[in-house]
Every structure is written in C-alpha cells, then in structure tokens.
C-alpha cells in the first residue's frame, strides 16, 4: 500500500448555534486546511465528506447538500456515515482513496449543525432505538450512556468522583483551545453538583450539542514531499462494528474499540501500545467514555483508567496525555466534526504547532478514536512523524 500523509488541517469554532449554514462552515474549514498546506482546490483529486444523521438538519442527501462547501464540485465525492464514529472514519476513507493509488490528493471535510433540530437535537436520536421492541418504551439517548456508565462503574467499582476528574481535565484543557465552546475551570464537586439528567449521568458529565466543521488534506508520498516539510504520516487505521442487539452484550467493555485498535496497531507495527503511543485523543462525549475507550484501546488494564486519571498520567504534562485538545467535553461535540477535530489535534501536536496546548517533549506518535451508533462502532487512526 502507498504511504499516505496529512499535510494540512483546519477547523471552525465550535459553538452552540452558528450563524453560518452547513456548507458555509464546511467551506471555512476546508479553505483553512488547503491554505495551511499551501494548496488550492485545483490540487484536490477527490473529496470525502463526513456528517452524522440527516435528522439533525432535516435535509436529505446531506453529503450533496454540503458538497460545494466541501470543495467537491465536479469531483469524485463520497459521504461516509458510521454514526458518532464518522469523524475518525472519514480520514480512514481518505486514507484508502490515496493508499489504493487511485488519487494523489484528497480533501476530508466533516461538518455538523445540530442546532437546526428543535426543540432539542437530542430528539433526533430517538430513531436509533429499535422501532418495534424499544421505541414504545419512550427511550432517549441518555439512557444508553447511563446504562453503560452504570454497568462500567458496577463491574469495576468505580465512583462518580473518579469519573468526574475526566470532565474537570478536559474542560480545563479546552481553555487553551481557540475554538472551544465549553472550556472552564471546574472542580469535581461542580460536576457532582450539576443537575442529574439520567443517573449516573449529570449535566456536566456530558458534552454539549454544537455546530462546527473540521477538515484535513491527505496526499500520497510524492506530493507530501513536494508540498510539505513536515508531513504527518498515517501509520495505522482500524474500524469495527459490533451487534446492534446492544442489550445482548456486556456494556462494561467496548470490544469493538479493541478490535479496531488491534487492526491499527498491527498495521503500524505497534507491539506495546502503552509505550509506543505518546498522545491519545479518545472519544469523550461523556466523561466515563474516555476511561472506557482507554481500556478498549489497550492503553491500560480493564478497570484501571480511573486510576491513571487520578494519578495525573493523562494530564497534558503526564506520561500519557489524553485529550490535550480539551475533547468533546471541552471543545464541543458537533458529531462528525468533533471526531475529525481530534485528528487535527494530533496533526498540530505532532508538528509542534499546538500553541498553549502543546504537549511537552514533542510526541512522535498519536492515536485518535471515535465511537458511535448503538455503542457498537469503533474507528481508530494512528498518526506519526
């Protein structure tokens, strides 16, 4: 397979409600990514668009709707969708477009505008539950997270206090992100005192609904060497789907994340991920998910991620910085754009361009992961320099 590089990245601010439309946000992120690589749309051979359910926008054929903004006019274009896993799956699609040898330069654009859905974007999620055996029970999206979080806490004997440390860390990290929606200096007690939505989930355990876009430019080795003096390379990719019969699985452990990670580690030739991965951007729509995913990624033993957090290992200056960006909890969660924001963060961190967020010691290799659908999709990208 041909080597594939990332040579540019861009994103918009993540906000609760943006004045710009989806195509306008897409254009802003795509243009920034191209500019940062010193390229123009003429250099782009194909476009990958990532966006989550059409139900947020109430617009069918959302890929086509976003296409002009994403630079896809009169170009080969595909829109990928694997639920919340989309933002890290889109660069995987970009990778195989280039690795196949079919295209030299691919623009990957992820956009989400959740604010259009009223009275609340959460309403768009009820259709993920089985329409015959589950929806008549009146479920909402919080249920699956609350049920999973409780199972995870119960099996391992983890407390809400330990989990709240993740929200404190990520919201604090986000204060240094120029695009963040919810950067804040909070205490564990603030998290515990916030409104109980669906026990064990409190309001500050949850990432917000957001509007925003992110984009990267991916290209073949011969292009990367010509246009960039600091290309970042795709070293591994992995993705995996578990059963939609989610009540038939033990929710305490995300097996699909492990399988996706193993695929990516094997491709990258990584034998000891705990030593060979230097920064991690796991998907953190809820604070416990960061812990859950660190375990699925084999970056710590099952049930041990809370301890790593308490010991400060996952702080930006710790041995394994986790969500140095501020994550979804802090930067915001425009679903597909949030996943790609994590890949952008790795790009900036590995190039030493992350400003106030820069992890010390110039990390050499990072991993981004997203998760989605009925707690069943794992997507993983490993970048290195």
């Amino acid at each position: 397979m041909a080597k594939v590089a990332v040579v540019g990245a861009g994103m918009t601010k993540f906000v609760r409600r943006a004045q710009e439309t989806g195509p306008e946000l897409s254009w802003q992120a795509a243009k920034m990514a191209l500019d940062s690589a010193g390229l123009t749309l003429k250099d782009v051979d194909a476009v990958v668009i990532g966006s989550a359910p059409d139900a947020f926008d109430g617009v069918h054929m959302k890929g086509e709707y976003l296409a002009e903004g994403a630079g896809a006019w009169r170009k080969p274009c595909i829109r990928g969708f694997v639920g919340g896993g989309t933002g890290v799956f889109s660069p995987i699609q970009g990778w195989y477009h280039v690795a196949s040898g079919q295209f030299d330069t691919v623009l990957v654009v992820c956009e989400e505008k959740m604010s259009s859905c009223h009275p609340h974007p959460q309403g768009a999620f009820i259709t993920i539950f089985d329409h015959i055996t589950e929806r008549p029970l009146g479920p909402n999206l919080l249920w699956i997270f609350a049920l999973e979080m409780n199972r995870y806490m119960t099996v391992h004997g983890i407390t809400k206090e330990e989990i709240a440390l993740v929200a404190v860390k990520n919201k604090k990290n986000a204060l240094d992100h120029p695009c963040s929606q919810l950067g804040a200096e909070l205490t564990v007690q603030d998290i515990l005192d916030s409104e109980v939505l669906a026990w064990p989930v409190n309001r500050l355990d949850v990432s917000p609904a957001s509007d925003g876009a992110a984009a990267i430019v991916m290209c073949a080795e011969h292009v990367a060497k010509r246009v960039s003096d600091k290309p970042v390379w795709v070293e591994g990719v992995g993705w995996h789907l578990d059963t939609a019969y989610w009540t038939n699985r033990d929710l305490y452990y995300p097996r699909y994340v492990e399988y996706a990670a193993r695929m990516a580690y094997e491709m990258a030739g990584i034998k000891e991920p705990r030593k060979e991965i230097h920064i991690v951007e796991p998907y953190d729509p809820f604070d416990y998910k960061e812990l859950h995913h660190l375990e699925g990624l084999l970056l710590c033993d099952r049930g041990q991620a809370a301890r790593l957090t308490a010991d400060g290992v996952t702080q930006r200056d710790g041995d394994l910085p986790v969500c140095p960006s501020g994550g979804l909890l802090g930067v915001g969660n425009p679903i597909a754009a949030a996943g790609l924001m994590k890949v952008c963060e790795l790009f900036w961190q590995l190039r030493g361009e992350a400003g106030k967020r820069q992890v010390p010691g110039t990390p050499r290799r990072g991993l981004a992961q997203a998760w989605g659908d009925l707690m069943q999709v794992g997507t993983v990208v490993i970048l290195g320099r």
Partner: protein, 171 residues
C-alpha cells in the same frame, strides 16, 4: 497551523440574535408517518406478548437461545431452528434513573430504564425495559425481577404489554 492562525472562523449566535430578528431563520415541521411490518421473528414475539408470554429462538449451531428472537443467527449465519418459551423473570444487568424525556423536558417522577437478562435465554441475553413498584434508591444491579403484565384485554401485541418489571420479594 494553530499557532499561526489569529482569527478562527465561525460566528456564535445567542438566543437574543434570533428573538430580536438580527438573523433570519426559516421553520418547517416535518410530518412523516410510518407503518412498520413486525416481520417473522418479532411478529411472533409480539403475538406471544399479547398472550402474556416471552418467546425466544434457539440456534442449533451455537446453541444460544436468542432474545429478542431472530430467524437467522448473526454468528453462525444460518437459520435459527426452534421457538423456546423463556421465563418472565430475570436479573437487572444495569439501570438508570432518568429525569428527562426524549425532548429534554424535565420529569418529576423519574423513568427507570434497565437492561434485564431474562431467565431461560442464554447468559447475557437481555432486553431493554422499565422497572416499577420500586424506590429508585433501592434498585441494584443483580436484583431479581419479574414482569408485570397488563390485563389480557388491555394487551395489544406490543413490548408495552409488559407494564414494567418489579422486584421479586425475597429474590
């Protein structure tokens, strides 16, 4: 290149921007109606719920008893072989105490969703349902529960023919 970018794009709106008409919006209410065929496996599942019973499908290949029932086994990728009645008792695998509705309207009386692993189905085969006749503070993972059915004339062949699951006394 984050350090080189001074102005990041994207314009945040406040609710006052909308209320005071500083930006223009267009509203639309989508009206769509669907009628879903329950299918072969779930069709029988619903019919048995109307009879006050839970039914599963057994796979001759992996020998799992599958709940909710399906006509093919996703693991063996072969047809499942027989119908098996399972108990209307089970164990709380996990639960939540939920104070918001699907549209984020707050609830005074919480909903008590749970994953319940059902006796007679293979280990770990659970369904999503609700708990009732229990104080939220008393719910525990591992608690034994039994289905509370609607009366026969109220049942309509739906998952809600079970009103909720309540703790088994002394269970």
């Amino acid at each position: 290149m984050t350090v080189k970018i001074k102005e990041w794009p994207g314009t945040a709106l406040s609710s006052r921007d909308i209320e005071e008409g500083r930006v223009l919006t267009v509203r639309h209410k989508l009206r769509a109606e669907y009628e879903w065929d329950a299918g072969v496996a779930i069709g029988r599942y619903l019919r048995e719920l109307k009879n006050g019973r839970l039914i599963a499908r057994r796979c001759g290949g992996c020998e799992r008893t599958l709940l909710p029932p399906r006509m093919f086994c996703e693991e063996c990728f072969t047809p499942t072989s027989e119908w098996v009645y399972v108990g209307a008792t089970g164990t709380v695998n996990t639960f939540s105490i939920c104070y918001v509705r699907w549209d984020v309207v707050r609830l005074k009386e919480p909903l008590l969703p749970a994953v319940i692993t059902v006796d007679g189905a293979s280990p770990g085969m659970g369904i999503l349902h609700l708990l009732g006749e229990v104080r939220p503070d008393d719910i525990r993972v591992g608690m034994r529960v039994q289905a509370v059915w609607k009366s026969p004339d109220e049942r309509e062949g739906a998952i809600t023919d079970i009103k909720y699951w309540k703790p088994i006394q002394g269970g």
